[in-house]
């Protein structure tokens, strides 16, 4: 066990830190769920690309830097330390990107990965359907194969929902039922499509904070070339599961994010320590310890992955741990702020610019999205412990 960074890793950290110091916007950007904020976040992706910091774990061929997981962790630490903007390209970097690399054809990789890395094409995901929710296999949206003028197409019909980034993004990916006779997880295909196609209607969903962080997407005879299918026809479920695995897995929530929150919580605590109860003191300490534990666990997992290990249902453990940690930290912050907790980001008297209230609302989604924690607990019980279904 070797828990010191190598000289090379330290140098990498310095390089990241210097670059971020020079480039991170001094003022926080507006929310990426607003039209203005979205474009400013896209600009930030392009700035990252200019320094080749956009998709550092990707191979250089696709616009990446070929970093290993330890370098990725170092990068993330510096990124959160610098309070750099949220990644509007997240669906691309962590979800579709790795999926394309594993399942895409050479043409698809060349077509989609470089503009994704450059911030020129921002991706939305479109997994869920109105009556699916945690039951991801309850997909009804159809992709009917037709031939027109010698060209094969899928014609999309149906509806998706909870599509993050869809309101402002350029492209989207999702699974559709290509075999009308099939049910559950059979007969589904993974399809990539631009969001400005004829027949697509996007209805923004206002989330808790009032911004349209999600959207419903309606498909009315939307024609997509068959070349936009990822993997084989009918294999969509397996690919989607791999993608969802990336989502729940190591890279969706880097420890630095929670360590940054814990650090700010300690700071918030210290600012009014004398008026706070033992419960809050205990919670703040536990936040610090758990954020550290999450960090240890991530390095531990990353080290095993570098040694050739695979990440399995442990991803479900991660999901539960970080989502509960995040909710608890923000709940604690709310209780520290007392009568000031209600002030929104629009109120100049809001503590820390209203970020705790905003973060609390976001943290409440943590145990719900990307497979609810109840589903994750089922997965752990069945796959890690071998309990019967």
């Amino acid at each position: 066990m070797q828990l010191q960074y190598t000289t090379q890793q330290e140098a990498f950290r310095q390089e990241v830190r210097s670059w971020l110091d020079a480039h991170v916007p001094k003022q926080p950007l507006p929310s990426l769920d607003t039209a203005e904020g979205f474009e400013l976040h896209r600009d930030w992706e392009r700035t990252l690309k200019s320094g080749e910091w956009g998709m550092i774990t990707w191979p250089e061929d696709y616009g990446g830097r070929g970093c290993d997981l330890i370098e990725w962790l170092i990068f993330e630490e510096e990124y959160y330390r610098a309070d750099a903007p949220l990644r509007v390209s997240q669906n691309g970097i962590f979800l579709l990107g790795p999926t394309l690399m594993e399942f895409g054809s050479p043409e698809q990789k060349q077509r989609f990965l470089p503009p994704m890395a450059a911030g020129d094409e921002i991706w939305a995901q479109s997994w869920s359907e109105p009556n699916a929710g945690s039951d991801m296999a309850a997909i009804r949206s159809k992709a009917t194969r037709i031939t027109e003028d010698g060209q094969d197409y899928y014609v999309l019909n149906g509806q998706k929902t909870w599509s993050s980034r869809a309101v402002f993004a350029d492209w989207a990916f999702g699974i559709f039922r290509t075999d009308p006779e099939s049910s559950r997880h059979h007969g589904l295909s993974f399809i990539l499509y631009p969001l400005d196609l004829e027949g697509i209607t996007i209805r923004p969903i206002r989330q808790l904070d009032g911004d349209p962080g999600f959207a419903e997407i309606f498909y009315d005879d939307v024609k997509v070339p068959v070349e936009n299918r990822l993997g084989d026809e009918g294999q969509g479920w397996g690919i989607a599961m791999a993608t969802a695995g990336f989502e729940r897995g190591l890279m969706l929530r880097s420890p630095a994010r929670f360590q940054r929150t814990a650090q700010k919580l300690i700071d918030l605590y210290k600012r009014s320590e004398s008026s706070l109860s033992p419960r809050v003191r205990e919670s703040v300490m536990q936040a610090y310890l758990n954020a550290e534990a999450y960090c240890f666990n991530t390095y531990y997992t990353a080290s095993r992955l570098i040694d050739g290990g695979k990440i399995g249902a442990e991803a479900s453990c991660n999901k539960i741990f970080w989502s509960e940690l995040d909710r608890r930290m923000h709940r604690t912050a709310m209780s520290i702020m007392g009568a000031y907790a209600e002030l929104s980001e629009h109120d100049p008297n809001a503590i820390d610019a209203g970020s705790w209230l905003d973060g609390y609302m976001f943290s409440l989604a943590g145990p719900i999205y990307a497979g609810s924690n109840e589903i994750q607990r089922n997965i752990i019980a069945e796959r890690c412990l071998g309990l019967p279904r």
Partner: protein, 348 residues
């Protein structure tokens, strides 16, 4: 020894419930939010139901009911997420003002009961107040005395609450001698009256909000299907909701006990109220987190009603002393003062 409400109290609660559930519907609230409004415009109806004058003496135009019954109304107001400042005016400002019993204040009390005047209490514990801008007058409780000013004489600064149905302002006021109701020597009694009523009524409102959220989540769990069954048939969902329900059942008598202590002016009323506020904050926080978890992604949207209730919880939990403030009072009593604990000390 009788730990239950009188039939009069229950009857009035039922009347208020019928009225509030019939008029302050979630459709009505959504319309307000869409139109950027925060009032149902039903103040006169609240007066006619006797809710405004519930705590005032009969000769003041009130019903002469006690605060241990008023908490039932506060629960109902919370249950429907009523946006009107009914509780602030009738549950907090009015009993404080009534205690003065001068001719001038009696007249004002009568006016409040009839719905003709709105009075709000401004207190250092609360940095912002709801709908101060539509109050007629403000009762300022300061270290150096209690003052009554018309709202237009005060400097109100708009603040921004996460709760779209709360139109809050902070206040700066410079009262002069003509505004003074009582001086430094007598303000402590009024101040304690305001703190106790404020925290107690807020606790009861939180209780009602919790009941409302648990009910919403339960109804959702009965209708929403996943994997072919209503999600409410799954043990995980059942147990989440059961835990919130148990917390609610055990918080309710804590609030009732505090209400009785306040109405009887018991020596330990402040401690009882602190317990009530702590219990209410805890159950409301749990109920909100449970309800959104049961609602899944839907709970995270403006499309379901839940968010209005959750935001109200976050907004009012810190009013009239936050959890830390009340926990410190219990801490002091338990570990520093010589509070008697154990069996046979509870009601003695």
């Amino acid at each position: 020894m009788k730990f239950s409400h009188t039939q009069d109290q229950l009857d009035l609660r039922d009347a208020a419930r019928d009225y509030l559930r019939g008029s302050c519907t979630s459709e009505a609230l959504r319309t307000l939010v869409e139109n950027n409004e925060t009032s149902l415009g039903n103040w006169q109806e609240l007066a006619e139901l006797g809710l405004l004058g519930y705590l005032a003496a009969e000769e003041q135009g009130g019903l002469a009911m006690s605060v241990d019954g008023f908490v039932l109304l506060a629960e109902e107001a919370g249950y429907v997420a009523l946006p009107e400042p009914l509780l602030e005016v009738a549950g907090i400002a009015l009993p404080v003002l009534s205690a003065l019993k001068t001719d001038a204040t009696n007249t004002l009390v009568e006016n409040i009961c009839a719905g003709g005047q709105r009075l709000m209490v401004s207190h250092p514990l609360n940095p912002n107040l709801n709908q101060l801008d539509v109050a007629d007058s403000v009762l300022l409780l300061q270290d150096d005395g209690a003052y009554l000013m018309s709202a237009t004489e005060c400097d109100l600064r708009p603040a921004d609450s996460i709760d779209p149905l709360r139109n809050i302002q902070s206040i700066k006021a410079h009262p002069v001698e003509k505004h003074q109701l009582v001086g430094k020597d007598k303000v402590a009694t009024l101040d304690e009256l305001a703190r106790q009523h404020g925290a107690l009524i807020t606790a009861a409102e939180l209780l009602g909000l919790s009941a409302g959220m648990i009910n919403m989540a339960t109804e959702y769990a009965k209708e929403r299907k996943q994997f072919g069954n209503p999600i409410g048939s799954y043990q995980a969902v059942k147990h989440h909701l059961s835990n919130a329900f148990v917390a609610l059942e055990f918080a309710r008598p804590v609030i009732y006990r505090a209400a009785s202590a306040v109405s009887q002016n018991e020596a330990t009323a402040a401690l009882s109220v602190s317990h009530a506020k702590i219990a209410a904050i805890d159950v409301a926080t749990l109920a909100a987190e449970t309800a959104i978890q049961i609602h899944g992604g839907m709970g995270y949207t403006f499309e379901v009603d839940l968010h209005l209730w959750m935001k109200r919880v976050w907004a009012i939990s810190g009013l009239w002393g936050d959890r830390n403030y009340h926990a410190q009072r219990v801490d002091q009593a338990l570990f520093a003062d010589s509070l008697a604990t154990g069996p046979a000390t509870t009601f003695s």
